[in-house]
Amino acid sequence: MQEYSNKDSVDAVIIGTGAGGAPIIARLAEAGLKVVALEAGKFWNPKKDFATDEREQNKIIWNYERLSAGDDPIPFGKNNSGFGVGGSTLAYTAYTPRPHPDDFTINTDFGVGKDWPISYEDLEPYFDELESFLGVSGPTPYPWGPDRNVGYPLPPNPINGAAQLMEIGCEPLNIKTVPAANAILSAPYHQEHVGEREACINRGFCQAGCSTGAKASTDVTFIPQAIHFGAEIRTECFVTRLNTNESGQISSVTYLKNGQEETQFCKTVFICAGAIETPRLLLMNQLANSSGQVGKNFMANVSTQIWGEFEELVHPYKGIPASLISEDLHRPKDADFASGYLLQSIGVMPITYASQLCRATGMWGKELREKMAAYNHVAGINIHGECLPYEHNYVELSDENDELGLPKPRIFFSNGTNEKRLAAHGEKIMEKIWDIAGAKNTFKVSRNAHIIGTCRMGDDATEAVVNAQGKSFDIPNLYISDNSLFPSSLTVNPTLTIMAVALRIADKFLQEYSTSKN
């Protein structure tokens, strides 16, 4: 791997190697720029480092403590944020539906939330490119959304027990389902500059590090590509400071490595640290916040789950956990709320199940043991729905420090009326589906998933932190690319969109860069 000196003012420093960072690292390196990525976590070797054991996998989780406040405090940590090269894509289940064109215009359509400064059409070429590059397995033609220019490169993966039960429950209700699009290989796949990746062997462990590399986390896709083109991936570097010069531009970035401070000089910075760490870094440095919007409008998709026990043997640890989808409820006709949601089936590993069961039902002792004895008969179904941006949901710095001596972030989150109504609508439908499928002893887990918002993009410098190109309105050589710049939460899982926006930001940056050079 290429290595740069700290003194060398590299063309770009990218902070974070997850969904928003990795595509930029690769794109800029491919264009011949000198690129250094600073990543707080390690570079794992999937085959050697990833045991099939949930507890062991806590090492790929962002475990610096966050303080969760509000009426619906978000459980961070596991099932929320990743740590290491790959970021949260190490832990994502790689469910990669495309957003719908009207996901970008929620304010125009419903008079609530925020429109995006870019459209589906702006991102469409990137969706095409990403699905091919990552090796997304999914059904062609796809029944929802605009017609595609190209189909999925691979056929869908086999569906698991929960998905088969969901099919049974949806059919009589005329809810259309198809095997979901997942960035998980249903056949071996070769990509230039990445190499050969193995096909998925249905181990069902996707909510953690995938040991085969079948799951398209960025550490096995964009990062190898970036390294091929000469990027340096510098790991275990925790960025703490962005240093400015007299003209207010970023001149260097300071990070902690093995307890020591080091400083990398650079011409441009891309902050891609995720929707909590990105605003935290800006707030700590008191930068790029003339709009007052840094940390504001924190969102988390409505993600209620219903779990049930079935007569059938399900073996919920086998097969890709989220292997079925319905987008029929993207805009429900009888809705008393704005926007909508998708439906997905879910398998589950035993510790995640036990933990959620305890928190959601309070079961313990004999009752808990009996419930857990039925684990092999368990299947879940859940929704992913719109969460509107609200003033009462935000990230701030607390006065309590973490082990690095940095202020812990405090995150306020309370669902509003729209989220509660959407959740109630989804619950009713999920209960019907599960009832038809034969579920017994169901229980509900009310939750919000994905961390979104907090540094939104927009056309108006008084209302947004960055423009449609991800560039700060205040500091011309500071960019953001991650889940924090979403103005609205979308009705689908975020990652494909984060990556598409990232590639677009990289391309726009490179256009400007080459113009300024000539």
Binding site: K47, K48, F50, A51, T52, D53, E54, R55, N58, I61, N63, Y64, E65, R66, L67, S68, A69, I74, P75, F76, G77, K78, N80, S81, N160, G161, Q164, L165, I201, N202, R203, G204, F205, S211, F310, E312, L313, H315, Y317, K318, G319, P350, I351, A354, S355, L357, C358, R359, G362, W364, G365, K366, L368, M372, A373, Y375, N376, D402, E403, R410
Partner: protein, 195 residues
């Protein structure tokens, strides 16, 4: 962990030594299986109390105990390791645990004028139910939300308990034996390893 021989131990050993585990998985599970802990964060009295509470939560007693989660909790708190978040309304985990255990001690002496660990199982369960439902309000509980303390304690205890191979095999979970992957995904279909 307490290294007691449980009835399913031969089955667990056979599975852990089989070709169906990848080497990294085998290593992690064997270490967990063999690990014997000591208490270094809690003093002996608090640790005994925590052990009894963990047993009650997981419906076991010193006779049939599969895993004592208290060791792993002790170790985490000793190193002040966070799991990534906590309720803003609660003090840091080491403080929360100490306070919560003291709260249980207080409630036991208030209600039954005895030490919690000397009470009958029914009385102990009564106290834990009161803590879980927020019915305890005096003393320490004035400043510590007993419901949230209970939720945190229960979730952590269960996560540790169900991550032990002995317990996993007892609920017929063999997902760790995935070195060759799975091919029988249809409902009611089982691989050779599954029963």
């Amino acid at each position: 962990m307490d290294n007691k021989t449980h009835q399913n131990q031969p089955e667990v050993n056979a599975l852990l030594n089989s070709e169906f585990l990848t080497e990294p998985t085998r290593k992690v599970l064997q270490e967990r299986f063999e690990k014997v802990g000591t208490n270094r964060f809690f003093d002996d009295a608090s640790f005994s109390l925590l052990s009894v509470v963990c047993d009650l939560l997981m419906d076991q007693d010193s006779e049939n105990r599969m895993v004592n989660s208290a060791y792993a909790i002790d170790e985490r708190l000793l190193h002040d390791k966070s799991d990534g978040w906590r309720y803003d309304s609660m003090p840091p985990d080491p403080v929360m645990y100490q306070l919560g255990l003291n709260g249980i001690k207080e409630t036991a002496s208030q209600l039954f004028d005895k030490k919690f660990i000397d009470l009958h199982k029914e009385q102990q369960i009564e106290i834990l139910n009161a803590v879980q439902s927020g019915k305890v309000k005096d003393g320490i509980w004035k400043n510590l939300d007993s419901k949230i303390f209970f939720e945190e304690l229960l979730a952590e205890t269960a996560e540790i308990f169900f991550s032990h191979p002995t317990v996993q095999v007892s609920i017929n979970y063999v997902g760790m034996a995935d070195a060759k992957g799975w091919t029988k995904l249809k409902l009611n279909q089982s691989e050779n390893l599954e029963n």
